[in-house]
Symmetry: C2
Subunit: 452 residues, 2 copies
């Protein structure tokens, strides 16, 4: 039976929780998919969600936990004794999820849980996984996989698979290794079942299979799997021994995360924002960028202040400050986002920096030309002051070229310095360009009115 | 042998193409993955890429074509006669890719190609697929899949699979249907090979399998596959008959596309931007947003112009125009991006509009409080004019609240009106808030100086 997840259902559940009507609660949610239960819990208040979580069956609780945002795990794990975490969560979960859960625990509790695990091999695997940096292939891979020896036949393989595959959710590929566990190739399950049982594995294996090393970045993993349309990717150590595999569902999460992060950077929000975070956490993610904006505004006030005699002489100059600032900001954001996106998509582009700049500046030149002519026409028709008319048009032209130059160069420099170029988008670039725009405006206007 | 894709390789290839050294070109790229060849072609000039494309073997050419951005397909397809398109591309490709390629052809050429296809069933499938809207499940699904009857046993299934699976790249799931082809459930290949061969299929099938209807939007498809970690999703018609399946690689592309689109909207770039587009195409994607910005700037100039006597009286007022505008813009972008992202991620949130607004306004209130106090302190210490000091602080407070309100409400309204709320981010919201900020600033200042 499919339950409609709607507001009424949530309200009904809240009522049941308030009444502590445990059997009714279990009946209402017990047959749902773990991802649906996790979604419901995000809609509830924390204490309601915790109450519901403790009612869940062992394995279901573990499946639900991994569907909840990682930030919230501690709110639930702290309710459980270490032996429950060991036996009902860590031992039950796939190794990548188990390691992720372990990573959220305090060091002491981590040791305790590892010691309480009965399967020492599994405990060893998890301890190994915890060693890898969490943003690398080693940090996201699972150790559960089906490996077969290159010297076997299809029949031996199929028998071995049914033994090895017990603990694995889904098998997409079978990994072929030699006697020393070096990765030799990959076989799809389809290929295996479509061949006569006596076929030697060696004759089926694709030798130029894609793989990554444990120290590859998660972005690199995502790019390879996306480009070659893979649903799983084997991970090897420095000398080529098979260590684990990464599945597409984890990569989908990475792609979503990276895209969200870049989007948030461009919007002036840092860190993870979650609908459930409280007001101060939410405010905190925005304050740094607003602070940059305010400092920029104060510097801008200083620039204008040092040109106050000029502004007093031609008050109409002030009217075009917002226009210059807005155009500088918009052009800067456009240019920087193009560069940031091309870096993020991992599209290798062998254009030299010079050629990238040339392309971007050609665009800047043509748009700057267009808009300075437009604003010239507007001011020529509706504004009597010819000095101001010329100043605004020339300023707009120069500002748009410079804004584009900055927007292109700053992300490229950051990327060279191994800093995420996304920080250069949004408020950072608009603020820089605002100030730049004001300085150019005041300088051009001064020159013009001195000449006239 | 793995070839390093670098600048030298591209230069070497360009040279070979200039010399028309066909055998050397084929030797250089023949063993590469189609996705790599596509990437190389994007680095070449169009005529070089076309030359290379025509050298490719039939099937390889088709595989390379589907890896090239859709916008560029016509540049290559127009080089080919209709019978080549029919026999070497459409008949060879999986139905979803074949339909995508067909959709790029002119109507006349489309008819011609369909008539020249030898496999009439395949031609019919493709004609059916072309009927679906390209953003729906029907538009992205492929008709190649393995369907088995619920009354069979594992053995019959495995035999049937090896027949049906000939034409399919990979099988992840087997779809179980009844005699009338109604979808009854899903079986993973793993489950099938791990059971004794006489097991009846009915006893293995998962009845509450996820599926979508042909008219489901592609966003909905992506959300379901992402949430439930699926690598393939069956598609049924209005009454539940199995029509096709969607695989995760297409969904990864959709997720990437949607994220890129939202990011570009927030950055003030419309439409697809491709590194290969020429200067005018690139400029064209930016001009609409810059035009909005310029119109906003002109309106802003008007607002300031109608308050010119006030500005002339207190010239220092002009100094804080950039600050007010920048803060208004930043707050607006932050609020709107939070809403747009929560809508895009498909996280159902049962908070009422009122509660969303309340949460957002609480954040706005606390940040507005903080920054108006900060700017008050700055002006109090470094700026003698108390009227201006009060005006700027009060304006900043009001502007930040309003900017946040606008940033939240406009995307919600657009979403209700079924317009993509992403259009409300970026230049649109900053321009609106710039003008709003100026009006509030002038109004507050007028009231203050009248009182003092």
């Amino acid at each position: 039976m499919k339950i409609e997840l709607n507001k009424e259902f949530i309200e009904h559940l809240t009522l049941l929780i308030a009444q502590k009507a445990d059997p009714e609660i279990i009946q209402a949610i017990g047959s749902l998919h773990p991802a649906d239960i996790a979604e419901i819990m995000e809609q509830l208040d924390l204490d309601e969600a915790q109450y519901l979580f403790l009612l869940l069956d062992g394995e279901l609780a573990a499946d639900v936990l991994v569907e909840i945002p990682e930030n919230d795990w501690n709110s639930y794990l702290k309710l459980l004794p270490s032996d429950t975490i060991a036996h009902r969560f860590i031992e039950y979960l796939e190794s990548d999820d188990a390691a992720d859960v372990m990573a959220e625990l305090d060091d002491d509790l981590q040791d305790e849980v590892l010691q309480q695990m009965e399967d020492k091999e599994q405990a060893g695997d998890i301890a190994d996984l915890l060693e890898y940096d969490e943003d690398t292939a080693g940090g996201i891979m699972a150790t559960e996989l089906v490996a077969v020896n290159e010297n076997w036949t299809v029949q031996t393989c199929l028998k071995e698979i049914s033994i090895q595959a017990e603990d694995i959710d889904e098998i997409y590929y079978v990994y072929v290794v030699d006697d020393k566990h070096f990765l030799k190739g990959v076989l799809s399950l389809k290929k295996l079942i479509m061949k006569p049982t006596h076929t030697p594995i060696k004759s089926l294996v694709t030798e130029d299979a894609h793989f990554v090393r444990t120290d590859a970045s998660q972005e690199e993993v995502a790019q390879i799997m996306e480009k070659y349309d893979l649903v799983a990717l084997p991970v090897v150590d420095q000398i080529g021994r098979l260590k684990g595999r990464i599945t597409i569902d984890d990569v989908v999460d990475i792609i979503r995360e990276e895209a969200d992060k870049d989007y948030q950077m461009a919007s002036g929000i840092s860190g993870d924002v979650d609908a459930g975070d409280n007001v101060f956490q939410r405010a905190w993610t925005r304050i740094p960028w607003l602070f940059i904006g305010m400092c920029g505004g104060i510097v801008g006030a200083g620039v204008l202040g040092s040109n106050s005699s000029q502004l007093a002489q031609i008050p109409a100059m002030a009217f075009f400050i917002p226009l210059i600032a807005a155009m500088a900001g918009n052009v800067g954001v456009q240019s920087s986002s193009i560069i940031v996106q091309s870096i993020a998509s991992g599209n290798r582009n062998f254009d030299s920096v010079g050629r990238k700049l040339f392309k971007e500046l050609s665009v800047a030149f043509s748009t700057a030309m267009l808009f300075s002519v437009l604003i010239f026409l507007y001011n020529f028709l509706f504004n009597g002051n010819m000095g101001l008319t010329y100043s605004v048009s020339i300023t707009l032209f120069i500002v748009m070229i410079f804004a584009s130059l900055f927007g292109t160069v700053i992300p490229l420099i950051l990327n060279k310095l191994k800093i995420d170029p996304a920080v250069a988008t949004g408020p950072f670039i608009t603020t820089t360009n605002d100030i730049l725009g004001l300085i150019i405006y005041m300088t051009v206007a001064r020159m013009f009115f001195e000449i006239l």
